[in-house]
Amino acid sequence: MKRLKALAATAASVPITLFGLVLVTFLIGRVMPIDPVLAIVGDRAPADVVAAVRLELGLDEPLYVQFWIYLGKLAIGDLGRSVMTSHTVWEDIKRFFPATMELATVAILFASCIGVPLGVLAAVRQGTKVDHTIRVVCLAGHSLPIFVLALLSLLVFYATLHWAPGPGRQDIMFDEQVPAVTNFLTVDALLARDWDVLRDAVAHLIQPAAVLAYFAMAFIARMTRAFMLDALAGEYVITARAKGLSAARVIWKHAFGNIAVRLITIMALTYAGLLEGAVVTETVFSWPGLGQYLTVSLLNADMNAVLGATLVVGVTYLAFNMLADLLYKLLDPRVS
């Protein structure tokens, strides 16, 4: 019963947060010193055309009326039309977001599978060479700007060693060879049983995913190490050892068992961060994801697209935040 109440409280906070998100995004979009009308008609259009389009977009109305209209359209899922692609923003997002999600999902899997064991190992061997090595490796991960890392990896693995295929999501000769069902290229290739496309997609995916994963891994490993050190200093670890349990059981069952929930939270938030923060990596690798869509739209003053994409990122972040919250409440017996 208590748990249900807690869940309800979490759920109730969602509409409020969402409303705030829409409001802030909308205001930022409107107060920016760019003219959405000029972006549509061009700067040589006659004055009467400019005025007509301004009227058509509702820009002559006061700001709160414009916001009301935007909210009304948003409620029926209408994010407007992108000037740049001339598709609806929703169609664009359906096309670009899966690319980002594919990249971020592979990256978070790499990062967790490597980062968590590394963090545990560093904590167990605190102060030894192993610990120092892991810490230096992680320091590089979260102190090097990600574009430096991305460019360096392109230079080394693509330009010099020719191990990796170049930027982009797939080779141009495979373009549109498999039907777009989920827009996850690897999944679509699997569904179409087209192994060449699959191989090519995976090859293109590995490098940007590895760069993102390194960045995320550094953070996850550092947090795991800190949590583990805290857990290993606990009295219950002495109890577990006094029971005669093996070192592995003391570490993984007792100490790690106590930090697992916190780690899941960290991983969920890191994943959300990857979904929104892959902008730079996507630009360097010409990855046709949401980050790139957002950047290009912004540079072209395509405000409907910017607003729509920002909202998607915000909602995703919110969703993962909630998920982390829920997992915490469900999995930790101390939170009720």
Partner: protein, 275 residues
């Protein structure tokens, strides 16, 4: 079962040099109830935990002899130590709030200890744990079995801790201030329970405390520690014959209902005691 400690030294290297926490302690423990008394930092816990080699990682341990029933603890492998820990010697810590794993149920923790050292499956372990909960006089074993530590009171938690350490039927029980975190009334219950279980099972007991009268009342023998040394060993009921000025000083400081005094004595420490 016989624990033999000769010239035990435990030191911690620090930024300002090495600090000696335990200096040249010699003790011999047979099948008896030994109390170790001393103030915080006197080295009583470290001395007892060294028998299980459960010291902080930075501790430097040395001794002429440190043996548990003939097994050289200084040289024993980690797996040999695991044969002693839990199985032959249990350790009860001070505060069940911290010493029980907060994300495992009490029952799971007892059953884990049971399974570690006895043959049997999950069902036997469960039955064994229920039986142990009954032995530590918990009225509602099924509820406590399924409860998480934060759902238990301090006294209940300590009973769970005792049950867990009794699971493999050890020969020696080390109780490191088992009642310091509990209310006075619960303290007495837990001590009675310990006393009862120890005599019924014929276990040896090392009781660490800073309560001198309590320990002397409860144990066969008392070792008084001060600044890493044993300054005096006394038999049960021999407190009146204490010779060392630290021990007599401590006893002087105690208020007594039968002999009310306007002013309690204050202990004067003599640097000579450190030599």
């Amino acid at each position: 079962m016989h624990v033999d400690i000769q010239n035990l030294c435990i030191a911690f290297p620090g930024a300002t040099g090495i600090s000696h926490a335990v200096r040249n302690v010699s003790l011999s423990i047979g099948n008896e109830k030994l109390g170790i008394v001393g103030e915080s930092g006197s080295g009583k816990s470290l001395t007892a935990r060294s028998i299980l080699r459960l010291l902080p990682r930075s501790a430097r341990l040395s001794a002429d002899r440190l043996a548990f029933d003939g097994i050289d603890v200084l040289k024993a492998s980690e797996s040999a130590m695991r044969g002693i820990r839990g199985k032959r010697a249990g350790l009860i810590l001070q505060d069940p709030k911290y010493s029980l794993n907060p994300v495992m149920t009490a029952g799971a923790q007892i059953a884990e200890a049971w399974r570690m050292h006895r043959k049997g499956g999950a069902r036997e372990a469960r039955d064994g744990a229920m039986d142990l909960l009954d032995q530590v006089r918990i009225n509602d074993p099924a509820r406590v079995f399924a409860a998480y530590p934060h759902e238990l009171s301090g006294g209940m938690g300590q009973r769970v801790m005792i049950a867990m350490m009794l699971a493999p039927d050890p020969e020696l029980l080390i109780a490191d201030e088992p009642t310091s975190a509990l209310d006075a009334t619960v303290q007495a219950e837990i001590l009675r329970l310990l006393d009862d279980l120890v005599s019924r099972r014929g276990m040896a007991l090392i009781l660490i405390s800073h309560d001198l009268p309590l320990v002397s009342h409860f144990c066969d023998r008392v070792a008084v520690m001060y600044a890493g040394r044993i300054v005096e060993q006394l038999g049960a009921g021999e407190l009146a014959r204490a010779r060392h000025p630290y021990t007599t000083g401590l006893l002087e400081c105690l208020p007594a209902l039968s002999h009310p005094r306007p002013r309690l004595a204050v202990m004067k420490r003599d640097p000579e005691w450190l030599k």
